[in-house]
Subunit: 331 residues, 2 copies
């Protein structure tokens, strides 16, 4: 195992001073082309790469970001892929961090994270205990993307509930008038956004709402909610906050002898793998998670640099129409 080459080694081989090597690698202007090329050639020959720890010590910048990992269900892989790629392009390295399940504990961990000076920013895909107010102590780090603003309004890419409105309008077009919403856990901005959009749409279009039930991400609980419905509730359109809830709802409906989509139409969210093969296949919202991750990271990097937030792309989510939605069967 050869020792790792340093800028001194490169300088010696190239016949220049060590600072010149450094200048070439930091992209400082005013290096003649022949010199730069000599250096680059020597560096390539030794497969030299600057030592990041040493650089970080001088620059007082860690170049590291932390990503807090979330509840199972989000398709973490593509989300991270987008985020990591974007971060790398911006010169950052991304580390995974996980928080305790317990809220008190988690709050302390977030403080430690921010106060550790090891990260320049923290991106959370998970609901965070303290909604985003970096304390004075932790000033050097930026905490972004808790997805709630000061008034606890859901914000951010994951909270764009427009597809829900689109689905409801379409259902109304098919002849549906009676709706039920199975909501997700209320500490998730996306769940809150969907519930709000549901309520607003019911109001705006003068629909009948059987209620907002649920309040967690459990498919079993969604089943129970449907089991508890009155017999004369049909026909009904169920807007579930995600595919798991939708699946639980469909199962309960079918077991009550209701036909889906004849008696009840159901929509989900996330386009999880099995929703396409479900019987009936589930109408859902697919997300471009890679771009969603990339956007989130761009937003964090902008915050760190003091740039203004990048504009939210509009085509990150898309309704996928499937068998679980149809006109209500006349009774």
């Amino acid at each position: 195992m050869g020792k790792r080459p340093t800028s001194h080694d490169v300088a010696r081989l190239a016949g220049v001073s060590q600072s010149t090597v450094s200048f070439v690698f930091t992209g400082r202007e005013g290096i003649s082309t022949p010199t730069r090329e000599k250096v680059l050639r020597a560096a390539a020959e030794l497969s030299y790469r600057p030592n990041l720890a040493a650089r970080s010590m001088r620059t007082q910048r860690t170049g590291r970001l932390a990503v807090v990992i979330p509840f199972p269900g989000l398709n973490l892989g593509s989300l991270l892929e987008g985020a990591v790629t974007t971060a790398r392009e911006a010169g950052y390295t991304v580390e995974v961090v996980n928080l305790s399940d317990e809220s008190d504990e988690a709050a302390r961990e977030v403080d430690t994270l921010l106060g550790s000076f090891e990260y320049e920013g923290v991106l959370s895909f998970s609901p965070l205990p303290k909604p985003g107010l970096p304390s004075a102590e932790s000033a050097p780090a930026f905490l972004a993307l808790t997805e709630f603003d000061e008034e606890m309004h859901a914000i951010g890419a994951f909270s764009d509930a427009r597809p829900l409105v689109e689905m409801m309008e379409h259902l109304v077009g098919l002849g549906h008038r009676r709706f039920l919403h199975i909501a997700g856990a209320s500490d998730y901005p996306a769940a809150v956004a969907r519930r709000d959009a549901y309520l607003a749409t019911v109001e705006r279009l003068g629909l009948e709402s059987v209620g907002v039930v649920g309040g967690n991400w459990s498919g079993i609980h969604a089943r129970e909610c449907v089991e508890a419905l009155a017999d004369d509730v049909l026909p009904l359109a169920i807007i579930a906050a995600n595919d798991v809830l939708a699946a639980g709802a469909i199962r309960a409906a079918v077991q009550r002898g209701w036909s889906v989509p004849g008696d009840v139409s159901v929509t989900g969210w996330d386009d999880v793998a099995l929703s396409l093969h479900f019987l009936p296949s589930i109408t859902t919202v697919s997300q471009d998670r890679r771009r969603l991750g990339a956007y989130s990271m761009r937003r964090l990097v902008a915050a760190i640099r003091g740039d203004e937030a990048p504009e939210l792309e509009t085509d990150l989510q898309q309704v996928i129409w499937r068998e679980s939605v149809a006109p209500p069967r006349p009774r």
Copy 2:
């Protein structure tokens, strides 16, 4: 924003030398209890934490590990949770890295990763282009867990296919004799292990195998495989390499007018969220992904330190019996 405190600041406040502070934090023996406590108190007061970059520069150890992220489907969240927690306990920090889709490109990226001297080890949950032979060049980093040994036998925690044998034996006990395997992508050790276990069990128990089909993770393809089956293949037991394939198979069977589980029993793997709500609910294998991730990381850390590999825990996977399995209906 106060400047970050250093060991000098702590030393000054505690009235000791800077080296003494360092001794306390590196756990060097031979520090008197009063001194240690003075130092710790001063450090707490300033909320001092050692600068990792500086430490890394002296020790020539980065304390960083890279995790290569995998295909969507693995439940990455819990896997990472286990891995990250274990790594932290061992004094490491975990970074996420993603590889190009293209195999050539990915091979080059792995080399760069190993040659960058930025990581002490690489843990991959994803099939890697070059099965785990660190080149001389990249000797300082260890590459573990490609999950294939030199003869391309699948190894490692994810490749334990015993639950598949258990499911087949149970099906035989119910009266099944005719089987079909829908395999996963053959660059996944787990897929290979399951296929091998299927073949070995057919052989050992003298069963009839209609074939091994599939070869990727597409539920659509699984559907097509079932659609292509002869009409007189019933009754049949389908062993699918995961829940998505199982779901595709069930859907195709039902659409052919076959009853599940009356005419065909189906098993999956992974216990994805919707498999419990599927109609019928899918018999599957649940994995303790947190512990699976922790085990993988323990193995990597052991490799780095030259310790021997930790023993594989045996209860990481468990068969979950559900509606998709029943005795074959007499025809």
